[in-house]
């Protein structure tokens, strides 16, 4: 076979018919990613060797940046299960063009969250006690079960994509395995959808059940507080557009078109629809909270906000600028198909759900409950930022490798002819 010396050295590993940048350029990028990763690794090492005291967490803020980060990425990673559900169970066929990316993003979000959780718990060696000594009454047990199981599902969904790598796939056995995995995909998509719905809900439920914390306490249906349902809805209302944003960033970085606008718009429509449903309930929930739960607890709406750092602007931003507004844009075809508005809405949507996870984690703990207690403030320190950056670097690394060597985007060849 003639070698084309103009191609990158590792061209033989590229997906069929795709071009990639030179290996040296790629390695420079990877080196930058690894530098960030190294910083995070150092933070992780300090945390594991010395204790969580090196973080900015304290006895008032037992949860901080890491939990916010986990909740946010898990919500944003919901594109995986929801797209899978629509693609495989409801047979919305065009989604096959972005399903691989949703799986990878989902996998990264979940595995990343689990890595952070290992740092975040004080006794990582006992992490598996959640199975061994499970307390069935705890929402967190449900979260531990579902997240770990769903992460396995995502690995199973990711594996065939890896096996489809051009060189690997030449092996007959690998090819057969990959093919069979594909046939089973609807089953896993179903399991994934079930698990994911539950733990998205349980994450919300975790907060809603804290009946002695009026900022987050919620009534609910049977054993599930309203936050259970709100978390599911907000996740599916933002996850799909997050995948689109990731895709667009990859397009910008690679200089190629990877997915057609129609697919992106479809994802936006799906997210927008769910976001609209979510916002209806979220507004109702906020109203009920302010007019029922708070007075019942002897508190007023104003008492739950403090200064600039935990001010009402966060709530208004979450509800309107990053909730109602993107919902309107995404469900209105004419607005949605304006690309600037579309991306703005997508970004606002993701910010909105992040604010939601942040205030429910941090502001909830900052708000004093005992009348003689005081508002306290929390700022994450370098160790927490570092470890979070490590996860981002890890995600960038996996995405880069996947893009370079795996057939992630079925439309790529056609779109870049």
């Amino acid at each position: 076979m003639d070698k084309n010396y103009d191609l990158p050295i590792d061209a033989a590993l590229f997906p069929e018919g795709c071009t990639r940048c030179s290996l040296s350029k790629f390695l420079v990028w990877i080196a930058a990613v690894m530098a960030v990763f190294g910083w995070g690794l150092y933070a992780a090492f300090r945390v594991l060797s010395e204790g969580l005291g090196v973080t900015g967490l304290d006895d008032y803020f037992g949860f901080g940046l890491w939990i916010t980060f986990d909740l946010a990425v898990i919500a944003l990673g919901a594109g995986a299960f929801f797209t899978g559900l629509l693609r495989y169970i409801l047979n919305i066929d065009p989604l096959k063009n972005i399903i691989n990316l949703t799986v990878i993003v989902g996998f990264l979000c979940y595995s990343g969250a689990m890595l952070v959780l290992v740092l975040d718990i004080g006794q990582p060696l006992r992490a598996w006690f959640g199975y061994w000594h499970a307390n069935v009454h705890s929402m967190l047990t449900e979260v531990i079960f579902c997240i770990t199981c769903y992460c396995l599902v995502l690995i199973i969904e990711y594996v065939p994509l890896i096996l489809e790598q051009k060189q690997l796939n030449r092996n007959k056995l690998v090819h057969a395995i990959a093919h069979n995995f594909h046939l089973m995909m609807p089953l896993f998509a179903g399991i994934g959808a079930f698990l994911s719905t539950f733990h998205q809900g349980s994450l919300g439920g975790m907060y809603g059940v804290l009946f002695a914390r009026p900022y987050i306490a919620r009534d609910g249906f049977f054993i599930w507080p309203w936050t259970f349902f709100l978390y599911v809805l907000s996740a599916v209302g933002s996850g799909p557009v997050f995948t689109v944003l990731v895709c667009t960033i990859m397009e910008k970085m690679s200089g190629k078109r990877l997915v057609t606008w129609e697919i992106k718009s479809l994802m936006g429509k799906i997210a927008g629809t769910m976001l609209t449903v979510y916002m209806v309930f979220k507004l109702a929930d906020t109203w009920a909270w302010a007019n029922d739960i708070l007075p019942r607890s002897g508190l007023t709406f104003d008492q739950l906000f403090y200064g600039w750092i935990y001010g009402k602007w966060l709530l208004w931003a979450e509800l309107f600028a990053c909730g109602v507004l993107p919902a309107i844009i995404l469900i209105t075809p004419s607005l949605r198909n304006n690309r600037t508005l579309f991306y703005t809405a997508a970004i606002l949507d993701c910010i909105g759900v992040t604010i939601n996870r942040y205030v429910m984690t941090v502001q909830a703990l900052a708000a004093p409950v005992m009348p003689f207690d005081s508002w306290e403030t929390y700022a994450p320190n370098w160790a927490e930022w570092g470890a979070s950056a490590m996860i981002m670097a890890y995600a960038a690394l996996i995405l880069s490798l996947s893009y370079r060597y795996l057939p992630v985007f079925p439309q790529e060849v056609k779109l870049n002819k």
């Binding site: 004080g122 006992r126 059940v209 914390r213 009026p214 007023t300 005992m370 009348p371 003689f372």
Partner: protein
């Protein structure tokens, strides 16, 4: 949420806030009794581990109408603890006669969900390994195990003293489930020179605390949230009682 057990014996406190001067002897006695490590810098109160903390209460009025009170805050040993049901690994339970909320250190994974659930800030995390100045670890009592970093801990009502009192009763041929008033008291109760803390079985009419919690001046912290604490406070001062719970502007103070 799971349902909660009712107990025949309910260890509780009646803390008279009109008697507490805020001297801190209880906090020191608690640390010494429960093998809590000292901290060279404890000025960050959000990272100072002390099972019992004395809060400062103010009537909010300017000088000279100002009044101050001090409120010692142990674990409330809630009847309906918000922390127990949330623990994913059953490291904290309320299932022993007496109603003390346990904390099982070797089981705790350090997720701190219980801390997030507790509005009283009664739970503390070991951010670092405990360190005693050289030789001072010889003063550790044999009664309470030392906690490593990474686990949550909290006031246990000096549970070891409960066990010792029951053992003593058994040896003396008495019913360990019918301890006399004073057979079992916590370290803080014992240390307070002002006698601000009265400890005993709230359900037992022979115990002084049984009557005290019925006082019209008795209240519990954040009662309306439904945690059902076993720690009661007593104050003849209305403003102090009003600080025991959140009240809307026009709501009347209990008691």
């Amino acid at each position: 949420m799971s349902s909660f057990k009712e107990f025949k014996i309910k260890w509780g406190m009646a803390i008279d806030l009109d008697k507490c001067t805020g001297c801190g002897a209880c906090m020191v006695a608690c640390q010494a009794e429960n093998n809590i490590a000292p901290q060279p810098d404890a000025s960050n109160k959000l990272k100072s581990l002390n099972w019992l903390v004395v809060y400062e209460l103010t009537n909010g009025k300017p000088f000279p109408e100002h009044e101050v009170a001090y409120l010692p805050r142990p674990c409330m040993q809630c009847g309906k603890p918000s922390c127990v049901s949330v623990c994913p690994v059953i490291a904290t339970e309320k299932n022993e006669e007496g109603g003390i909320v346990s904390q099982i250190y070797p089981r705790c994974i350090g997720c701190r969900y219980c801390m997030a659930s507790c509005p009283y800030h009664a739970r503390y995390f070991n951010w670092f390994d405990p360190i005693w100045p050289e030789g001072m670890d010889k003063t550790l009592t044999p009664d309470v195990s030392v906690r490593p970093r990474g686990v949550v801990e909290k006031c246990s009502f000096c549970h070891h003293r409960f066990m010792q009192a029951k053992d003593k009763a058994r040896v003396e041929g008495r019913d360990p489930n019918a301890l006399n008033d004073g057979d079992y008291i916590t370290s803080c109760t014992e240390a307070c020179p002002n006698g601000a803390i009265v400890f005993g079985d709230v359900n037992n009419p022979a115990h002084k605390v049984h009557e005290l919690v019925k006082s019209k001046y008795a209240f519990r912290l954040l009662e309306r949230l439904g945690t059902d604490p076993q720690v009661y406070y007593v104050s003849r001062r209305e403003w102090v009682r009003r600080l025991g719970d959140n009240y809307l502007e026009n709501e009347k103070v209990k008691g």
